[in-house]
Amino acid sequence: MLTRVDIANYRGFKSYRMEGLAQVNLIVGKNNSGKTALLEALNFATTGGDPLVLADAANRRGELIAADEGPRLYPDLTHFFHGHEITPGSVFTITPDNGYPRLVIRLIPLPPDSSLFDEAEDEIETRPVFGVIIEGASGIGSSASDLGLSPRGGLIFNPKARIRAAAATSMGTARPSLFIPTDSVTQRRLAQLWRQAVLDANQQDALAAIQIIADSIKQIVVLPSDGSSRAVPSLRDWYVITSEARRPVPLGSFGDGVRRLMTLALSLSRVGGGTLFIDEIDTGLHYSVMADMWKLVVKKALASNVQVFATTHSWDCIEGLSTLCQREPGLVNKVAIHKIDRALQNSVAFSGEALVRMLRSDIDPR
């Protein structure tokens, strides 16, 4: 479990330390304070420096560069560096503790065997002008010929490195780590999580989660394939059996909160022993279910040994966590709240016990 991380020259942070990290961490701060950037940095750290995490983050943020020709888009690595400027030798570092490797992401001269990239594309935009090395990583990026950077900052993967990484992942060498963005996960991802939950016999977790806000739901059913070529599962295949309707009801008939809670429960099951990142955890949820949502998250995190990092802007969400800590005092040492202010050099961390005192006294930690 991470208890501290130091970040340098990364996004809005010239130099920043987060410490006092607990099993379940709630990160608060103003808009544009860097909460999501920190989640992404921690995600990168807990995967041991997987550049696909950076690519996913850039993709979510729309930080993409179009190829000069053709439809392809490349993750723009420029914005990961403090000041949005890159030159050969540019570096950002992420230094976690407790056995996670220190990661140094460095732009280097193009290595001699860069012809490997030629197999990817022959468009001029996709031809790297720099190499990118991730010192400390064990997967893609650990070798100087794995990653390149286009003239405009687009991150290019050497296809052979991708194949090697995919093999490593399938062999289970990577630590489980999942990032749930503000708008939850794609239908395809949710379906993948469900498949895994079925195989792990964890479907009841998802059912219990959505019963927090819809206790009439008695069972989740997913329609078997109709044999069509549609390979990507869709929400329209998902139904629930309720105590209120004679026929199954489409899951989509219920609000965003149901999908959010299902995603939380299934993700917690999926990343046992690993780390879960949840951006704006309260999305789609009514204030009255916050304490129960946190109970689901904290209990499952403890049971499955998952370290959780979540962000919020919501007073109700913070109050929900405090309420849970008051109801179950044994959890106060498992929970921490972190205020982020980029003008400082470190986050301000408080235990669950302090969180309870704050909320009892109407003190707003945001």
């Binding site: 003008a343 006294s361 109407d362 707003d364 945001r366």
Partner: protein, 227 residues
């Protein structure tokens, strides 16, 4: 409670402190309408016990200083019995927040800063950061209009009542006298804060101005131009 605007907080012990300070600021030209006020006032409390006052204020002082990352924060405490003893309690909280306090509270109020921070935190000890046996009523006493004919009568009447078995604590003699005096105003028995805005009290004694000067410096209150 959460505020829709992100403004600095002055933490006080009780409702009277809150409304008297709002009244004083208002009288000195600071717009304290919630939509425009430059600072908000918060009464220290613990909703689990219903307690307000010095206990929850000191219990949360270090937390609140640490949380005030992007704005100044201030605390107004009563001296109560001993200025030195109360300052010792405050000092422990400041130390817990990483601030090294002076041996005694400066007579013009304490203003200090956590290492690495860009904004100050301040402490005022009511009434004047020096006197023992001090609280809000002692500041209010300085705001009773000079030569007010009823004030000596309120003092002697309250003492007389005490000698005849009135149950208020001797410690609260000034408070009882103040309420006795307020009972004889045009609108009898208004709370302290309204007594300031209704001009029963004045608002510019030397003691009140010293307190407002501390507020002005801590929160950069440009509205207090004349202080």
């Amino acid at each position: 409670m959460a505020d829709t605007r992100d403004i600095p907080t002055l933490v006080v012990e009780g409702d009277d402190d809150q409304w008297v300070i709002i009244g004083l600021l208002d009288k000195h030209g600071v717009d304290m309408n919630p939509a425009f006020r430059p600072i908000k006032l918060a009464v220290a409390k613990d909703s689990s016990t219903g307690a307000k006052g010095i206990v929850p204020l000191l219990a949360n002082m270090a937390i609140q200083i640490q949380l005030a990352t992007d704005r100044p924060i201030g605390f107004v405490v009563d001296v109560d019995l001993s200025c030195a003893d109360r300052w010792a309690e405050v000092s422990k909280c400041l130390v817990a927040a990483g601030i090294t306090p002076p041996a005694s509270c400066p007579p013009d109020g304490f203003i200090g800063r956590m290492p690495g921070r860009s904004f100050d935190c301040g402490v005022w000890m009511m009434p004047d950061c020096v006197l023992d046996h001090g609280k809000l009523e002692h500041l209010l006493k300085t705001l009773v209009p000079a030569g007010d004919p009823l004030w000596p009568l309120a003092e002697s009447s309250t003492e007389d009542a005490k000698s005849k078995g009135a149950k208020f604590r001797k410690l609260d003699l000034d408070k009882a006298t103040m309420h006795c005096w307020l009972a004889w105003q045009e609108e009898p028995g208004v709370p302290f804060g309204r007594a300031v805005t209704s001009n029963y009290f004045g608002h510019d004694s030397a003691e009140a101005k010293a307190f407002l000067r501390w507020l002005k410096i801590l929160f950069n209150l440009n509205g207090l131009a004349t202080i």
